[in-house]
Symmetry: C2
Subunit: 139 residues, 2 copies
DNA sequence: CAGAATCCACCAGGATACTG
DNA sequence: CAGTATCCTGGTGGATTCTG
């Protein structure tokens, strides 16, 4: 059974963290950036089910919340790169834990979520896509 | 700088976990249940900004997803208690991490989130409320 | 005390098209 | 390649009322 190391008496922190991570693609974006996939075009390839617009919106929020930084290279064609701030990096253990937990329980979770009527099936599995991207993302 | 222990090449797990935790009050509910605050009336007291209905909805989803279990005592007045399943417990380190991270960065986060125009101020701080509840929750 | 039934407002997120 | 402007809809979550 799970043993709590720290006595948690309040959950404000929980709400704050939820607020920061609140957005359909934010965890995935953070995960991507931490893996050095940090250009908008790469995000789009990596998350085929998301729109450029939505990704931009969520990236902007993450930026405004101080989690990531946007660097614009004044070139033609334009080049943009995102990177994690210190606070952003400090968030990664949580993202990783979510990733690991989801992977570990994938079989079970896919079943219970699939049986959920309000779950819309996404056309493509993000898995293979991301795998491809990360192989080719650095030319 | 953050050193990644496990090479993460896919983020499906991330999506699954997000799906499970997707719901405004789910993390707080899980946190509460793990702290042995597990009766509907306690939830309502603990989260004054949430409606009974919404809490019920989210509890039901958590139950359908196999994260919690609902036990109904056939009495008058009715009594209901929720508890975490094994999978639910295995999720707690993540909830805790979120709680800790949010607490640690509270000052910063409150600032950046407050300056966010689309953040609606909640009337009461959940902190004091929860503190009160946990003091009195076991009669 | 627990919870179902309505009704509804709002906004996150998706589709599309256009500019630099 | 990057970003913005519209437009639209589905669903989340809130308010209220009513039962056992």
């Amino acid at each position: 059974m799970y043993e709590r190391k720290i006595p948690l008496t309040i959950d404000c922190g929980l709400h704050l963290t939820r607020e920061i991570l609140n957005g359909k693609w934010k965890p995935a974006l953070l995960n991507a950036i931490s893996m050095d996939i940090k250009r908008p075009s790469e995000f789009v390839r990596m998350l085929p089910d998301a729109t450029r617009r939505v990704l931009n919106v969520q990236l902007k929020e993450l930026e405004e919340h101080g989690i990531i930084v946007k660097k614009i290279y004044p070139q033609l064609p334009p080049k943009v790169e995102y990177s994690l701030t210190d606070i952003g990096w400090s968030l990664m253990p949580i993202i990783d834990a979510m990733n690991v937990w989801g992977d570990k329980n994938r079989e079970f979770l896919e079943k219970v979520i699939a049986q959920d009527p309000k779950t819309k099936k996404t056309s493509k599995s993000p898995c293979e896509v991301l795998r491809k991207v990360s192989e080719t993302s650095h030319h």
